[in-house]
């Protein structure tokens, strides 16, 4: 939105409430103040939800009869990033998930390795930040045991998912060609804290509704973070990194959509 609109609206509001003298304000300072004030609600929401939601309380699970006839894909539906298409051609036989960062033992896990690990299947509701919901059956490897294998350092606070897709270029109506390797697009990434990372329903899903994860829904692997909104559940995962803080990654807000103004805590 144009900043001018925001500014006018706020000043109008502030004047109406008698909070601020309208004349003589540094408008950029006022703007920054408004954004910071509005953002404080996110901290409050996260604190309140963490108070009410126990670490292990589960997102509602549904029955086979509830599964949506077709699971609506959103964001990237066909990544054009260099390298992805080659993996897709061989059905990800050569793809490996790298687990790295603040860990004692970095891992490289193939799809076969992941499938050989204990699996969890859950029928859950996917809530898009736009407002719609779709129910699907996900099968995958719980993230907690994978973290245990990698042995995170005590300094590790967040898990970052680095992805193949670049949503700015991967809309459904592109020509599908591979992106030029000169192009440095903003790649999708997401981060969650260790509370969500170790939650029993947090799985690295390789199946949707009993079939291998389709490309449109994030093949070969997507994460499920069932107590938050859809944009937290990164698709097309390339690697998992344990970190102490996300301020140095990309835009510094902890995720692709967070860098575009959305909340890092998406439990609401």
């Amino acid at each position: 939105m144009p900043p001018d609109t925001n500014r006018r609206r706020f000043l109008g509001l502030a004047a109406a409430m008698g909070v601020l003298p309208v004349a003589g304000c540094d408008q950029d300072a006022v703007n920054a103040e408004v954004t910071a004030t509005l953002d404080s609600a996110e901290t409050l929401t996260r604190a309140a939800q963490r108070l009410f939601i126990s670490r292990t309380s589960l997102a509602p699970e549904f029955t086979e009869a509830d599964i949506a006839p077709s699971f609506r894909p959103n964001g990237s539906v066909s990544p054009r990033e260099h390298g992805y298409k080659a993996f897709a051609k061989t059905k990800f036989a050569d793809w490996k998930l790298r687990v790295e960062g603040l860990v004692e033992k970095p891992l490289d896990l193939s799809l076969a390795d992941l499938r050989a690990m204990p699996a969890r299947t859950q029928i859950t509701r996917h809530d898009c930040v736009e407002g719609w919901s779709a129910i699907g059956k996900w099968t995958g490897a719980p993230l907690a045991p994978i973290l245990d294998l990698a042995k995170p350092a005590n300094t590790a606070k967040y898990v970052v998912f680095h992805c193949f897709d670049a949503p700015d270029y991967d809309s459904g109506d592109d020509d599908g060609s591979e992106l030029s390797s000169d192009l440095k697009p903003d790649l999708y990434y997401e981060s969650i804290d260790l509370i969500d990372a170790r939650h029993p329903q947090t799985i690295l899903a390789y199946e949707l509704n009993g079939a291998p994860l389709p490309v449109s829904n994030g093949a070969p692997l997507r994460v499920r973070v069932e107590r938050q909104l859809g944009y937290k559940m990164a698709k097309y995962i390339k690697s998992v990194e344990l970190i102490a803080d996300y301020s140095k990654i990309a835009g510094g807000n902890g995720g692709f959509w967070e860098d575009r103004g959305y909340e890092w805590y998406a439990g609401i």
């Binding site: 609206r9 609600a41 409050l44 939601i53 997102a59 809530d127 919901s133 779709a134 439990g267």
Partner: protein
Amino acid sequence: MTSLTPGIDTHGGRAETANPLYVRHSPVVRAAHWLNVVFMAILLMSGLQIFNAHPALYWGKQSTFADPALSMRATGQDGSHGVTKIGALSFDTTGWLGLSKGSDGELTERGFPSWITLPADQDLATGRRWHFFFAWAFVVNGAVYLLYALASGHLWRDLTPRAREWREITRSILRHAMLRFPRGEEARHYNIIQKLSYLGVIVFALAMILAGLAMSPGMDAAFPFLLELFGGRQSARTIHFILAWSFVAFLAVHVAMVILSGFFNNMRSMITGRYATGERSPDDAA
């Protein structure tokens, strides 16, 4: 028509005794009322911004994309018509719903027009920030009001209908319909219609908050009964939307009544607290 004009019977010194001012609204009630005006205006406008991110409503646990309960879209060969569908019914709402002019003057596909959304242009992230900040403000304001109303006796003394009032409800409705409002001693208390309206608003506000929380995947994990209560997340979203517009309908009637039953007196009582009951007029007797 004298009953529509409070204070008309007062002349000079008589006004002191015949038309006394009494304190109708406490400072807490007045502050909560005007804060709510601001908060709810922002909540409505930012809520419509959020709705516009997916301008369709569904009933049940999830979205049945092909068969929404309500939708606002641009349709036609070149998307030149705004069409609002409610169930099987379809309305051309070009310029208002589905397709309207934005701040750039161009006709654009959007649910509600930009003049009623906050921010004006399509910006879900900012709309959510406004909505959730003022949702907290609304909850805190409501909690302060409710605690005060319980502790001070306001809820019981001023808002709870008495058995006698239930028996007179038909008469009260008829008198409202004829725009004949209580005066004199009778006007010192809310009548049954007022009591039920204001209690109803409180109940609606609580339902509104619960329906909002039922849309949160985090809260659904903590309190699954929220989903049972509303029949699923998409039903909760639809109910939240309906309640929002019910508030707008309440507002229209509320403002009309404020104007018709003595605009100046009513505004004074909600600003300074003091309300003039006026003399009891002969045609109000019996």
